[in-house]
């Protein structure tokens, strides 16, 4: 894991022409290859606007965005899709094919990956996400939590360097949530960069290296979850509550931040 920047957002301002709303106001952030980053903030704080700049869905009004050193200004979304995979919050926006299997092949085929490789990736995804039983089913015939996994798998087969996961655990139950954890760990092992837009603090506390906090079009904090959870003003002003276990440790251990139940267990034993 070299500390090479893969995402460079430089003084980006974005103004939506409709309604003249400034959704990003002079935001700068650099993300290194292999980092697992969480992005939090209320709806309307600019999170989604920011990540949409990473795969060229939006272009900066001012400033520039470099992905792997290349300016996104001249790149189309389709060209960016080889590098940046965007998993939408609602799988219904992404899925359309007749079977789960076709769905998994759609992305790599668009990228002109050769057939043998497509097949290998598809089988790997089916195994990894546990989709064997539903490979021939229509994506809309399976329940929402699993459908959401299919959405992730359909990007997984494209092997992008950067994964953007938009609320990967909303609408999930604990079992499918565990799969999401597993996915993020796997991506970390393989050296992918992951940007996780989420409200799920328990997830973020356990998986991310770094938390970016947005409020009113500004980036107001950028540090490890441990540090961010201890920033009282930041957390309160964004109405974000750290996980219950963190709140407990803050309360019992005079400002000490733990991120998981197991960590608290160790903490209490010592």
């Amino acid at each position: 894991m070299s500390a090479k920047p893969i995402v460079q957002v430089e003084n980006v301002t974005h103004v939506y022409s409709r309604g003249n709303v400034t959704a990003l106001d002079d935001v700068s952030v650099t993300i290194n290859r292999g980092e697992i980053v969480g992005l939090i903030g209320q709806n309307g704080s600019g999170k989604t606007t920011l990540v949409k700049h990473l795969n060229s869905l939006l272009k900066p009004t001012k400033g520039r965005v470099l992905i792997d050193g290349e300016d996104t200004e001249k790149q189309s979304v389709q060209a960016m899709s080889a590098k940046v995979g965007y998993v939408y919050q609602n799988p219904n926006h992404q899925l359309f094919a007749r079977t789960v299997q076709d769905e998994l092949e759609f992305g790599p085929r668009n990228l002109k990956v050769d057939e043998a490789e497509i097949e290998a990736r598809r089988e790997e995804a089916i195994e990894f996400f546990g989709l064997e039983e539903m490979r021939d089913l229509h994506p809309y015939r399976i329940g929402f939590p699993l459908r959401k996994l299919v959405g992730m798998a359909s990007i997984f087969t494209m092997r992008p360097d950067i994964f953007i996961l938009d609320e990967p655990t909303t609408g999930q139950d604990n079992i499918t949530t565990q799969r999401v954890y597993k996915l993020i760990h796997r991506l970390r092992e393989n050296g992918h960069t992951v940007i996780c837009v989420a409200h799920d603090m328990i997830l973020l506390a356990e998986v991310v290296d770094r938390l970016l906090v947005m409020r009113d079009a500004h980036l107001i904090a950028d540090d490890t979850p441990r540090k961010v959870f201890a920033m009282r003003e930041v957390m309160e002003s964004t109405h974000l509550a750290p996980p219950q276990i963190t709140q407990l440790s803050l309360n019992l251990k005079k400002g000490k931040v733990v991120l998981s139940v197991d960590e608290m267990l160790k903490e209490l034993k010592s």
């Binding site: 709806n43 309307g44 139950d173 604990n174 109405h239 219950q244 276990i245 709140q247 309360n251």
Partner: protein
Amino acid sequence: MAKGKPVIEFKDVSFGYAAASDREFAIENINLTIYEGEYVALLGLNGAGKTTLQLCINGVIPNSIMGEFSGEFSVYGQDTEVTSVREMAKLVGMVFDNPEFQLSQMSVAEEIALGMENIGFSFEEMNRIIPEVLKIVGLSGLEERSPFALSGGQQQRLSIASALAMRPKILVMDEPTSNVDPIGKEEIFAVAAKLNKEENMTIVMAEHEVEVMAAYADRVIVMDEGKIVLNGTPKEVFSETALFERLGLRTPQVTELSAKLAKKGTRKFSKGYPVTLDEAVSSLR
């Protein structure tokens, strides 16, 4: 924890959707009594039968959704199979998980009026009730706004207001916070708690947020594969941490911690495991 008289009674109720291919029961042999003024949390995996159970409460099952229904069910002593939709709507208000999919009207005021029009409230009554319910959910002044221009949390509170306008005694909410941001969640939980405390409204809420439910609910019911597997106070139910894990469900983090501490013999919890942050702080201090 019986607060008042029994208002919702399931006696051996089973239901299977006609549309389901496998002809399995979505809920099976449900026996359950809910009392007036109770705040009941419903937990379970997707597909455990929470939604089906909730749809029985206002009679949409079996009246409008096809399927095989057996057993006896009543709300305030009325058999939903024979009570008209109109009467049921006055007893039970429903709020669903996707805020936007419940809305259809041009303005907030008309959205709220819709239910009242259907049961024949007069114009004067509607004019009096609309600002009243908007005030309860904290949306005063937005009468003329389009429902589709509201945030997710506001839309969900509008759905609550639309249900409240018909003066129900029971409010059934199916994962009302699953599609809204943290502020929206706070607002919705606050409104539900207020209705329960101040108006003594019976609340039946399906939720994944166990930490919040542990703090608000009088009773927690856990469902698995169409059956009720746990039913009791949050303290009783969440102390079954091993069962929760087996079912693929979470308990509040503080409860999980306490159970692990107890297992290792590090701590003893004579009054049961803590289920809320405050309890944990005082028992672990």
